[in-house]
Amino acid sequence: MAVALKPDRVAQRAGAISLRAVRKVYDPGRLDVVAVDGWTLDVASGEFLAVVGPSGCGKTTLLNGIAGFDPITGGEILLDGETIASPGGSARPSADRVVVFQNGALFPWKTVVENVAYGPIVQRRLSRPLALDEARSLLQRVGLGEVADAYPSRLSSGVQRRVEMVRALINDPKVLLLDEPFRALDAIAKSVMHEELLKLYDATKKTIFFITHDLDEAILLADRVVVSTTRPARVKHILAIDLPRPRSYRMMASAAFLDLKRSVADAVHEEAEKAFRRGERELA
């Protein structure tokens, strides 16, 4: 089952996400907080899509809807043509769309290799010894063999996040849902993690749904960048990123990168300012 990082397995393309007028209202009928309002968007199989928006704008709510953590209150979400979320339908998380969380969610009571082997074991896809072997060899292939037997608390946040991505990829998911995975990292670790993620993406060509409030990060990583309005989250602008792959951090200084950034910077800034103003009012 040494599958996760082999590109040949990618031949059978899967992982196309369709959002159809997706809407999420918290506390309907009383407070009526609209978090996500009318998202219609197609993410192609193998596409790297980044959503940029201010903190608290509702983009995590959208991701939770795709992940199946929270039910949506309007519209429909499809994965490869199958409905995975709709109002009234039961939201069900599944290992075909694994989430990597903002602050990391490695289980502190398990070693790195036990964390990585967790998915195959609980899905009863592999026996425990086989899953541990598979996890260990996968860790070695991505250069994390040394930390396989360490507990997560001993590792830096950057390494923790890399392990968490391996833990997701060992399940050979159709989609990776990344919820601001590098938010807690310092700028240098972040830049290294970008290179890591780009390598992983080039090797696996998984569909990636990536959420961030960092425009530079979004442009560097993604095929398309969706600028979200602040709450309620609506699609404000979609920008196709035509930078060639493989990409590297050096591109962030290129004219093409800066042109792309210039074309959406105003849109992003406008929403950030709106969110900031509203934050002030709420505090006052």
């Binding site: 969610a105 289980f107 009571w109 609980v122 899905q123 070695q140």
Partner: protein, 276 residues
């Protein structure tokens, strides 16, 4: 374990092996300071009694206490007192864990069960264990079972509340990550809720262990015919002051040993945690 063939992990392990040494130095320095503290305490005590400082006049000196202790060490009944007290404490303590941990887990996991049971426990919990003594003497057939019951109460509520709090404090991210990786609710309970609550459960056990010893002494004075608490009380009745102090120190040692045992078990059960 093909990692062992690689050179760099071996280097990592070598670093790990050298790491405990400075830790041990720190530990032995702390032990040295601890012994110095105890010696100073004993010296001040002896000095206070010899100089007839107010309130200390009737207190036996450390030397008297040591002499009384030596003679007790030749008495087989003294060891029996230790044994009896430990049996009572651990009997009540183990039953408290066996009931308190599962109940706490269930209350933390199922909101409906929590709202059903929590009010009952919240009313019973503030009742001091010793307030249960009269009722439990009436209720239980033997003094022994009533003592065990009161000790059980001392540990039960502490471990229950700590287990419940531990489950409720588990970060939702871990549960979501597990579900996202394909875990069923039963697996989430066993592999996420249980280990996630362990640090809090052991905190409850450590606190509960302390409570059981204070409850034990009082219960033995009221209802016992043996044990370290009874030994202390009997010495008071007989007017043998040094033996009172021996009894007290014995209880202190017994409590310390019990807490150390909880800490050792906790460290074994949670190799990932540095809290114990």
């Amino acid at each position: 374990m093909n990692v062992e063939a690689a050179p760099s992990p071996a280097g990592l392990r070598a670093r790990n092996r050298t790491r405990p040494v400075p830790g041990r130095e720190v530990a032995s320095a702390a032990a040295l300071r601890g012994s110095a503290g105890i010696a100073t305490f004993l010296a001040l005590w002896q000095l206070g009694v010899v100089l007839h400082l107010p309130l200390l006049a009737k207190i036996p000196t450390p030397a008297d206490v040591a002499a009384a202790w030596l003679s007790l060490l030749r008495d087989p009944r003294y060891y029996l007192d230790w044994l009896v007290s430990f049996r009572r404490v651990f009997g009540g303590f183990v039953i408290a864990q066996a009931l308190g941990i599962p109940l706490g887990l269930l209350m933390g996991w199922k909101a409906a069960f929590r709202s059903l049971t929590f009010p009952v426990f919240e009313v019973l919990r503030p009742i001091p264990p010793l307030a249960w003594v009269p009722l439990s003497i009436l209720f239980w057939p033997t003094p022994e079972s009533s003592i065990t019951f009161v000790i059980f109460l001392g540990a039960f509520f502490t471990v229950l509340i700590n287990t419940l709090a531990g489950v409720r404090a588990i970060d939702e991210r871990y549960v979501r990550a597990a579900i996202s990786l394909g875990a069923t609710p039963a697996i989430v309970f066993r592999r996420i809720i249980l280990p996630g609550a362990l640090p809090s459960i052991f905190t409850g056990m450590a606190v509960g262990m302390g409570i059981t010893w204070s409850v034990l002494v009082a219960a033995e004075i009221i209802a016992g015919r043996s044990g370290l608490g009874y030994l202390t009380w009997e010495a008071y009745v007989a007017g043998s002051f040094p033996t009172i102090v021996v009894g007290m120190i014995s209880i202190g040692l017994a409590g310390y040993l019990s807490s150390a045992l909880v800490r050792i078990v906790a460290a074994r059960a949670m190799p990932w945690s540095k809290r114990f």
